[in-house]
Protein backbone atom coordinates (compact mmCIF):
# COMPACT_ATOMS: atom_id res chain seq x y z
CA UNK A 1 0.00 0.00 0.00
CA UNK A 2 2.98 2.25 -0.53
CA UNK A 3 3.06 4.70 -3.36
CA UNK A 4 5.42 3.34 -5.94
CA UNK A 5 6.01 2.93 -9.64
CA UNK A 6 2.62 1.19 -9.91
CA UNK A 7 1.18 4.70 -9.72
CA UNK A 8 2.81 5.66 -12.99
CA UNK A 9 1.71 2.41 -14.62
CA UNK A 10 -1.87 3.00 -13.47
CA UNK A 11 -1.79 6.60 -14.74
CA UNK A 12 -0.74 5.39 -18.17
CA UNK A 13 -3.29 2.56 -18.07
CA UNK A 14 -6.02 4.97 -17.04
CA UNK A 15 -5.23 7.47 -19.79
CA UNK A 16 -5.18 4.74 -22.42
CA UNK A 17 -8.40 3.24 -21.08
CA UNK A 18 -10.15 6.62 -21.19
CA UNK A 19 -8.99 7.06 -24.77
CA UNK A 20 -10.17 3.58 -25.79
CA UNK A 21 -13.52 3.92 -24.02
CA UNK A 22 -14.00 7.26 -25.69
CA UNK A 23 -13.19 5.78 -29.09
CA UNK A 24 -14.97 2.44 -28.95
CA UNK A 25 -17.81 2.95 -26.50
CA UNK A 26 -18.68 6.60 -26.07
CA UNK A 27 -18.35 7.96 -29.59
CA UNK A 28 -20.27 5.29 -31.54
CA UNK A 29 -22.96 4.87 -28.92
CA UNK A 30 -23.57 8.56 -28.32
CA UNK A 31 -23.62 9.17 -32.10
CA UNK A 32 -26.22 6.44 -32.39
CA UNK A 33 -28.28 7.89 -29.57
CA UNK A 34 -28.07 11.32 -31.14
CA UNK A 35 -29.20 9.86 -34.47
CA UNK A 36 -32.10 8.17 -32.74
CA UNK A 37 -33.06 11.37 -30.95
CA UNK A 38 -32.99 13.15 -34.29
CA UNK A 39 -35.05 10.43 -35.90
CA UNK A 40 -37.68 10.54 -33.18
CA UNK A 41 -37.81 14.33 -33.40
CA UNK A 42 -38.21 14.09 -37.18
CA UNK A 43 -40.91 11.47 -36.79
CA UNK A 44 -42.79 13.62 -34.30
CA UNK A 45 -42.61 16.70 -36.48
CA UNK A 46 -43.66 14.62 -39.50
CA UNK A 47 -46.66 13.30 -37.62
CA UNK A 48 -47.46 16.85 -36.55
CA UNK A 49 -47.26 17.96 -40.17
CA UNK A 50 -49.37 14.98 -41.24
CA UNK A 51 -52.00 15.95 -38.71
CA UNK A 52 -52.00 19.49 -40.00
CA UNK A 53 -52.29 18.29 -43.60
CA UNK A 54 -55.11 15.96 -42.68
CA UNK A 55 -56.94 18.86 -41.10
CA UNK A 56 -56.46 20.97 -44.21
CA UNK A 57 -57.62 18.12 -46.45
CA UNK A 58 -60.67 17.63 -44.28
CA UNK A 59 -61.48 21.30 -44.51
CA UNK A 60 -61.02 21.24 -48.27
CA UNK A 61 -63.14 18.15 -48.70
CA UNK A 62 -65.90 19.75 -46.63
CA UNK A 63 -65.64 22.85 -48.80
CA UNK A 64 -65.85 20.79 -51.98
CA UNK A 65 -68.81 18.86 -50.61
CA UNK A 66 -70.58 22.10 -49.78
CA UNK A 67 -69.94 23.54 -53.24
CA UNK A 68 -71.11 20.36 -54.88
CA UNK A 69 -74.30 20.39 -52.89
CA UNK A 70 -74.92 23.97 -53.91
CA UNK A 71 -74.29 23.15 -57.54
CA UNK A 72 -76.60 20.16 -57.38
CA UNK A 73 -79.30 22.30 -55.84
CA UNK A 74 -78.84 24.85 -58.62
CA UNK A 75 -79.11 22.17 -61.25
CA UNK A 76 -82.25 20.75 -59.71
CA UNK A 77 -83.82 24.19 -59.51
CA UNK A 78 -82.92 24.90 -63.12
CA UNK A 79 -84.35 21.58 -64.23
CA UNK A 80 -87.55 22.33 -62.36
CA UNK A 81 -87.82 25.73 -64.00
CA UNK A 82 -87.16 24.25 -67.40
CA UNK A 83 -89.79 21.56 -66.85
CA UNK A 84 -92.33 24.17 -65.84
CA UNK A 85 -91.41 26.16 -68.91
CA UNK A 86 -91.88 23.17 -71.18
CA UNK A 87 -95.19 22.36 -69.55
CA UNK A 88 -96.39 25.91 -69.96
CA UNK A 89 -95.33 25.99 -73.60
CA UNK A 90 -97.11 22.74 -74.25
CA UNK A 91 -100.24 24.02 -72.61
CA UNK A 92 -100.26 27.20 -74.72
CA UNK A 93 -99.58 25.28 -77.91
CA UNK A 94 -102.34 22.85 -77.19
CA UNK A 95 -104.80 25.66 -76.62
CA UNK A 96 -103.86 27.35 -79.88
CA UNK A 97 -104.06 24.09 -81.76
CA UNK A 98 -107.43 23.30 -80.28
CA UNK A 99 -108.81 26.68 -81.24
CA UNK A 100 -107.49 26.27 -84.76
CA UNK A 101 -109.06 22.87 -85.06
CA UNK A 102 -112.38 24.18 -83.76
CA UNK A 103 -112.27 27.10 -86.22
CA UNK A 104 -111.46 24.79 -89.08
CA UNK A 105 -114.27 22.48 -88.15
CA UNK A 106 -116.85 25.26 -87.94
CA UNK A 107 -115.72 26.62 -91.32
CA UNK A 108 -116.12 23.15 -92.76
CA UNK A 109 -119.56 22.89 -91.28
CA UNK A 110 -120.56 26.26 -92.77
CA UNK A 111 -119.35 25.19 -96.14
CA UNK A 112 -121.19 21.88 -95.95
CA UNK A 113 -124.38 23.70 -94.88
CA UNK A 114 -124.12 26.08 -97.81
CA UNK A 115 -123.50 23.26 -100.23
CA UNK A 116 -126.45 21.33 -98.87
CA UNK A 117 -128.58 24.41 -99.13
CA UNK A 118 -127.51 24.85 -102.74
CA UNK A 119 -128.31 21.24 -103.57
CA UNK A 120 -131.61 21.41 -101.76
CA UNK A 121 -132.52 24.60 -103.57
CA UNK A 122 -131.91 23.05 -106.99
CA UNK A 123 -133.77 19.88 -106.08
CA UNK A 124 -136.68 21.76 -104.58
CA UNK A 125 -136.97 23.91 -107.73
CA UNK A 126 -136.82 20.81 -109.86
CA UNK A 127 -139.56 19.18 -107.74
CA UNK A 128 -141.57 22.32 -107.97
CA UNK A 129 -141.27 22.42 -111.74
CA UNK A 130 -142.20 18.80 -112.01
CA UNK A 131 -145.16 19.43 -109.75
CA UNK A 132 -146.20 22.35 -111.80
CA UNK A 133 -145.96 20.32 -115.03
CA UNK A 134 -148.19 17.70 -113.63
CA UNK A 135 -150.70 20.28 -112.57
CA UNK A 136 -150.60 21.99 -115.93
CA UNK A 137 -150.36 18.77 -117.91
CA UNK A 138 -148.20 20.30 -120.33
CA UNK A 139 -144.76 20.83 -121.25
CA UNK A 140 -143.38 23.95 -119.97
CA UNK A 141 -141.21 25.55 -122.47
CA UNK A 142 -137.66 26.10 -121.79
CA UNK A 143 -138.35 29.68 -121.54
CA UNK A 144 -141.16 29.29 -119.02
CA UNK A 145 -139.17 26.80 -117.16
CA UNK A 146 -136.24 28.99 -116.70
CA UNK A 147 -138.44 31.89 -115.81
CA UNK A 148 -140.26 29.86 -113.21
CA UNK A 149 -136.97 28.54 -111.84
CA UNK A 150 -135.49 31.92 -111.55
CA UNK A 151 -138.66 33.12 -109.89
CA UNK A 152 -138.51 30.25 -107.42
CA UNK A 153 -134.84 30.65 -106.65
CA UNK A 154 -135.41 34.24 -105.95
CA UNK A 155 -138.16 33.28 -103.53
CA UNK A 156 -136.22 30.73 -101.61
Amino acid sequence: MNINITLLAQIIAFVILVWLVSKYLWTPLSALMEARRQKIADGLSASERGKHELKLAQERSAEILRETKEKANDIVAQANARANQVLEDARVNAKVEAERIVAQASAEIDREVNRAKEVLRTQVSAIAVTGAERILKREVTIKDHEAALADLIAHI
Binding site: M1, N2, I3, N4, I5, T6, L7, L8, A9, Q10, I11, A13, F14, V15, L17, V18, L20, V21, S22, Y24, L25, W26, T27, P28, L29, S30, L32, M33, A35, R36, K39
Partner: protein, 273 residues
Protein backbone atom coordinates in the same frame (compact mmCIF):
# COMPACT_ATOMS: atom_id res chain seq x y z
CA UNK B 1 -12.80 -17.30 18.30
CA UNK B 2 -9.38 -18.69 17.95
CA UNK B 3 -7.55 -15.45 18.72
CA UNK B 4 -6.32 -16.62 22.09
CA UNK B 5 -4.51 -19.49 20.60
CA UNK B 6 -3.67 -18.03 17.21
CA UNK B 7 -3.19 -14.28 17.82
CA UNK B 8 -0.02 -14.38 15.80
CA UNK B 9 -1.64 -16.20 12.93
CA UNK B 10 -4.43 -13.57 12.73
CA UNK B 11 -1.89 -10.81 12.27
CA UNK B 12 -0.05 -12.96 9.80
CA UNK B 13 -3.26 -13.61 7.91
CA UNK B 14 -4.10 -9.93 7.59
CA UNK B 15 -0.58 -8.91 6.71
CA UNK B 16 -0.48 -11.62 4.13
CA UNK B 17 -3.67 -10.32 2.61
CA UNK B 18 -2.42 -6.75 2.59
CA UNK B 19 0.72 -7.59 0.66
CA UNK B 20 0.76 -7.20 -3.08
CA UNK B 21 2.23 -9.57 -5.58
CA UNK B 22 5.10 -7.39 -6.66
CA UNK B 23 8.50 -7.12 -8.22
CA UNK B 24 11.19 -4.58 -7.34
CA UNK B 25 11.94 -2.77 -4.12
CA UNK B 26 11.10 0.59 -2.59
CA UNK B 27 9.82 3.13 -5.05
CA UNK B 28 10.50 0.77 -7.95
CA UNK B 29 8.14 -1.82 -6.60
CA UNK B 30 5.56 -2.78 -9.21
CA UNK B 31 2.32 -4.30 -7.95
CA UNK B 32 1.68 -6.92 -10.56
CA UNK B 33 -1.66 -8.12 -9.15
CA UNK B 34 -3.07 -4.58 -9.17
CA UNK B 35 -1.98 -4.10 -12.75
CA UNK B 36 -3.25 -7.47 -13.94
CA UNK B 37 -6.69 -7.14 -12.42
CA UNK B 38 -7.19 -3.51 -13.44
CA UNK B 39 -6.02 -4.33 -16.98
CA UNK B 40 -8.32 -7.35 -17.13
CA UNK B 41 -11.28 -5.24 -16.03
CA UNK B 42 -10.35 -2.51 -18.51
CA UNK B 43 -10.13 -5.18 -21.20
CA UNK B 44 -13.55 -6.44 -20.12
CA UNK B 45 -14.99 -2.96 -20.64
CA UNK B 46 -13.44 -2.74 -24.09
CA UNK B 47 -14.51 -6.27 -25.00
CA UNK B 48 -18.10 -5.46 -24.08
CA UNK B 49 -17.83 -2.15 -25.93
CA UNK B 50 -16.66 -3.95 -29.08
CA UNK B 51 -19.35 -6.58 -28.66
CA UNK B 52 -22.03 -3.90 -28.51
CA UNK B 53 -20.34 -1.87 -31.22
CA UNK B 54 -20.49 -4.78 -33.63
CA UNK B 55 -24.20 -4.78 -33.68
CA UNK B 56 -25.47 -1.37 -32.79
CA UNK B 57 -29.09 -0.92 -33.68
CA UNK B 58 -30.85 2.40 -33.79
CA UNK B 59 -34.33 0.99 -34.21
CA UNK B 60 -34.37 -2.07 -31.99
CA UNK B 61 -31.61 -1.94 -29.38
CA UNK B 62 -31.06 -5.20 -27.54
CA UNK B 63 -31.51 -5.39 -23.81
CA UNK B 64 -27.82 -5.05 -23.14
CA UNK B 65 -27.41 -2.14 -25.49
CA UNK B 66 -30.34 -0.54 -23.71
CA UNK B 67 -28.66 -1.00 -20.35
CA UNK B 68 -25.38 0.49 -21.57
CA UNK B 69 -27.27 3.35 -23.18
CA UNK B 70 -28.94 3.93 -19.83
CA UNK B 71 -25.56 4.21 -18.07
CA UNK B 72 -24.29 6.45 -20.84
CA UNK B 73 -27.27 8.75 -20.61
CA UNK B 74 -26.95 8.86 -16.82
CA UNK B 75 -23.33 9.97 -17.06
CA UNK B 76 -24.17 12.41 -19.82
CA UNK B 77 -26.89 13.98 -17.68
CA UNK B 78 -24.48 14.35 -14.76
CA UNK B 79 -22.01 16.12 -17.03
CA UNK B 80 -24.69 18.34 -18.54
CA UNK B 81 -26.00 19.26 -15.10
CA UNK B 82 -22.53 20.40 -14.03
CA UNK B 83 -21.47 22.08 -17.26
CA UNK B 84 -24.73 23.46 -18.51
CA UNK B 85 -24.51 21.63 -21.83
CA UNK B 86 -21.18 22.94 -23.15
CA UNK B 87 -18.72 20.42 -21.80
CA UNK B 88 -15.57 19.53 -23.72
CA UNK B 89 -15.96 16.19 -25.47
CA UNK B 90 -13.40 14.59 -23.17
CA UNK B 91 -15.37 15.01 -19.95
CA UNK B 92 -18.21 12.56 -20.50
CA UNK B 93 -16.07 9.62 -21.71
CA UNK B 94 -13.69 10.29 -18.81
CA UNK B 95 -16.57 10.22 -16.34
CA UNK B 96 -18.01 7.08 -17.93
CA UNK B 97 -14.64 5.31 -17.78
CA UNK B 98 -14.24 6.24 -14.12
CA UNK B 99 -17.72 5.06 -13.23
CA UNK B 100 -17.46 1.67 -14.93
CA UNK B 101 -13.82 0.96 -14.22
CA UNK B 102 -13.95 1.97 -10.57
CA UNK B 103 -17.17 0.06 -10.08
CA UNK B 104 -15.71 -3.09 -11.63
CA UNK B 105 -12.50 -2.81 -9.61
CA UNK B 106 -14.55 -2.25 -6.45
CA UNK B 107 -16.70 -5.21 -7.40
CA UNK B 108 -13.67 -7.48 -6.98
CA UNK B 109 -14.16 -6.80 -3.28
CA UNK B 110 -17.36 -8.85 -3.35
CA UNK B 111 -15.56 -11.98 -4.48
CA UNK B 112 -14.94 -14.17 -1.41
CA UNK B 113 -11.77 -12.80 0.07
CA UNK B 114 -9.78 -16.03 0.22
CA UNK B 115 -11.00 -17.61 -3.01
CA UNK B 116 -8.59 -16.24 -5.59
CA UNK B 117 -5.58 -15.93 -3.25
CA UNK B 118 -6.07 -19.57 -2.22
CA UNK B 119 -6.17 -20.68 -5.85
CA UNK B 120 -3.10 -18.55 -6.52
CA UNK B 121 -1.39 -20.11 -3.52
CA UNK B 122 -2.11 -23.52 -4.98
CA UNK B 123 -0.43 -22.37 -8.18
CA UNK B 124 2.61 -21.22 -6.24
CA UNK B 125 1.88 -17.50 -6.21
CA UNK B 126 2.65 -16.19 -2.70
CA UNK B 127 0.51 -13.01 -2.60
CA UNK B 128 -2.55 -11.82 -4.48
CA UNK B 129 -4.59 -8.68 -3.87
CA UNK B 130 -7.47 -8.82 -6.27
CA UNK B 131 -9.06 -5.43 -5.58
CA UNK B 132 -7.04 -2.81 -7.47
CA UNK B 133 -8.78 0.07 -5.69
CA UNK B 134 -7.43 -1.14 -2.33
CA UNK B 135 -3.99 -0.38 -3.71
CA UNK B 136 -3.51 3.35 -3.12
CA UNK B 137 -1.72 3.66 -6.44
CA UNK B 138 -4.87 3.06 -8.46
CA UNK B 139 -7.20 5.67 -6.94
CA UNK B 140 -4.34 8.14 -6.72
CA UNK B 141 -3.43 7.57 -10.37
CA UNK B 142 -6.95 8.48 -11.45
CA UNK B 143 -7.08 11.40 -9.03
CA UNK B 144 -3.80 12.76 -10.41
CA UNK B 145 -5.04 12.50 -14.00
CA UNK B 146 -8.14 14.43 -12.93
CA UNK B 147 -5.89 16.94 -11.12
CA UNK B 148 -3.76 17.50 -14.23
CA UNK B 149 -6.91 17.93 -16.33
CA UNK B 150 -8.23 20.42 -13.76
CA UNK B 151 -5.09 22.53 -14.11
CA UNK B 152 -5.18 22.19 -17.90
CA UNK B 153 -8.80 23.37 -18.16
CA UNK B 154 -8.24 26.11 -15.56
CA UNK B 155 -5.46 27.57 -17.69
CA UNK B 156 -7.35 26.95 -20.92
CA UNK B 157 -10.51 28.68 -19.73
CA UNK B 158 -9.11 31.45 -17.51
CA UNK B 159 -5.74 31.88 -19.15
CA UNK B 160 -2.52 31.58 -17.21
CA UNK B 161 -3.03 35.04 -15.71
CA UNK B 162 -6.55 34.22 -14.66
CA UNK B 163 -5.41 31.01 -13.02
CA UNK B 164 -2.67 32.90 -11.18
CA UNK B 165 -5.18 35.54 -10.10
CA UNK B 166 -7.31 32.79 -8.59
CA UNK B 167 -4.36 31.86 -6.38
CA UNK B 168 -3.55 35.45 -5.46
CA UNK B 169 -6.97 37.02 -4.85
CA UNK B 170 -9.11 34.14 -3.73
CA UNK B 171 -10.77 33.76 -1.28
CA UNK B 172 -9.95 36.95 0.74
CA UNK B 173 -9.35 39.68 -1.85
CA UNK B 174 -6.20 41.56 -2.77
CA UNK B 175 -5.07 42.57 0.73
CA UNK B 176 -4.34 39.03 1.85
CA UNK B 177 -2.26 37.74 -1.03
CA UNK B 178 0.05 35.42 0.95
CA UNK B 179 -2.84 33.89 2.87
CA UNK B 180 -4.76 33.53 -0.36
CA UNK B 181 -1.93 31.66 -2.02
CA UNK B 182 -1.64 29.22 0.87
CA UNK B 183 -5.39 28.76 1.14
CA UNK B 184 -5.93 28.18 -2.57
CA UNK B 185 -2.92 25.89 -2.79
CA UNK B 186 -4.31 23.76 0.03
CA UNK B 187 -7.75 23.85 -1.53
CA UNK B 188 -6.48 22.75 -4.93
CA UNK B 189 -4.18 20.06 -3.56
CA UNK B 190 -6.87 18.74 -1.24
CA UNK B 191 -9.06 17.95 -4.22
CA UNK B 192 -6.99 15.15 -5.82
CA UNK B 193 -5.74 13.84 -2.48
CA UNK B 194 -9.19 13.58 -0.96
CA UNK B 195 -10.54 12.19 -4.22
CA UNK B 196 -7.99 9.38 -4.25
CA UNK B 197 -7.91 8.72 -0.51
CA UNK B 198 -11.69 8.58 -0.21
CA UNK B 199 -11.98 5.71 -2.65
CA UNK B 200 -8.90 3.96 -1.30
CA UNK B 201 -10.03 4.34 2.30
CA UNK B 202 -13.49 3.01 1.70
CA UNK B 203 -12.31 0.02 -0.27
CA UNK B 204 -9.42 -0.74 2.07
CA UNK B 205 -11.66 -0.57 5.12
CA UNK B 206 -14.26 -2.69 3.40
CA UNK B 207 -11.73 -5.34 2.57
CA UNK B 208 -10.38 -5.23 6.09
CA UNK B 209 -13.84 -5.87 7.50
CA UNK B 210 -14.17 -8.89 5.19
CA UNK B 211 -10.83 -10.12 6.56
CA UNK B 212 -11.97 -9.66 10.15
CA UNK B 213 -15.15 -11.58 9.41
CA UNK B 214 -13.06 -14.31 7.79
CA UNK B 215 -10.90 -14.42 10.92
CA UNK B 216 -13.87 -15.61 13.00
CA UNK B 217 -13.33 -19.19 12.01
CA UNK B 218 -9.74 -19.01 10.84
CA UNK B 219 -7.81 -22.04 11.91
CA UNK B 220 -10.76 -23.29 13.98
CA UNK B 221 -10.93 -26.95 14.69
CA UNK B 222 -14.11 -28.96 14.55
CA UNK B 223 -15.62 -28.19 17.95
CA UNK B 224 -18.75 -27.03 19.74
CA UNK B 225 -17.70 -23.37 19.57
CA UNK B 226 -17.80 -23.59 15.78
CA UNK B 227 -21.58 -23.97 16.04
CA UNK B 228 -21.75 -20.37 17.28
CA UNK B 229 -18.98 -18.78 15.25
CA UNK B 230 -19.79 -20.26 11.88
CA UNK B 231 -23.45 -19.07 11.67
CA UNK B 232 -22.36 -15.69 13.03
CA UNK B 233 -19.71 -15.48 10.34
CA UNK B 234 -22.22 -16.31 7.61
CA UNK B 235 -24.72 -13.73 8.83
CA UNK B 236 -22.08 -11.01 9.26
CA UNK B 237 -20.49 -11.77 5.91
CA UNK B 238 -23.84 -11.62 4.13
CA UNK B 239 -24.79 -8.38 5.87
CA UNK B 240 -21.48 -6.70 5.05
CA UNK B 241 -21.63 -8.04 1.49
CA UNK B 242 -25.05 -6.53 0.88
CA UNK B 243 -24.00 -3.26 2.49
CA UNK B 244 -20.84 -3.30 0.42
CA UNK B 245 -22.79 -3.53 -2.83
CA UNK B 246 -24.09 -0.09 -1.89
CA UNK B 247 -20.63 1.14 -0.89
CA UNK B 248 -18.84 0.13 -4.07
CA UNK B 249 -21.55 1.70 -6.25
CA UNK B 250 -21.62 4.82 -4.14
CA UNK B 251 -17.83 5.22 -4.20
CA UNK B 252 -17.69 4.77 -7.97
CA UNK B 253 -20.48 7.31 -8.34
CA UNK B 254 -18.85 9.78 -5.95
CA UNK B 255 -15.52 9.52 -7.75
CA UNK B 256 -17.26 10.22 -11.05
CA UNK B 257 -19.36 13.11 -9.74
CA UNK B 258 -16.41 14.76 -8.01
CA UNK B 259 -14.37 14.44 -11.20
CA UNK B 260 -17.13 16.18 -13.12
CA UNK B 261 -17.54 18.82 -10.43
CA UNK B 262 -13.81 19.60 -10.23
CA UNK B 263 -13.54 19.87 -14.00
CA UNK B 264 -16.72 21.90 -14.05
CA UNK B 265 -15.28 24.30 -11.47
CA UNK B 266 -12.25 24.71 -13.70
CA UNK B 267 -14.61 26.00 -16.38
CA UNK B 268 -16.17 28.69 -14.22
CA UNK B 269 -14.61 32.07 -14.79
CA UNK B 270 -12.64 33.55 -11.92
CA UNK B 271 -14.81 36.68 -11.92
CA UNK B 272 -18.02 34.77 -11.36
CA UNK B 273 -16.34 32.59 -8.77
Amino acid sequence: MSTETAGGSSVEYIQHHLANLSVGQGFWQLNIDTLIFSFLLGALILFVAMKIGQNLRTETPGRFQNAVEGVLEFVDNQVKDSFGGKAPTLIAPLALTILIWVWLMNFMDLIPIDLLPAIAHGLGIPHLKIVPTTDLNTPLAMALVVFVLTIYYNIKVKGFGGYLKMFLFHPFGKFFVPINVVMTLIEELAKPISLGLRLFGNMFAGELVFMLIALLTLGATLSASLLIWFPLQVVLDLAWLIFHILVISLQAFIFMVLTIVYLGMAHIDADSH
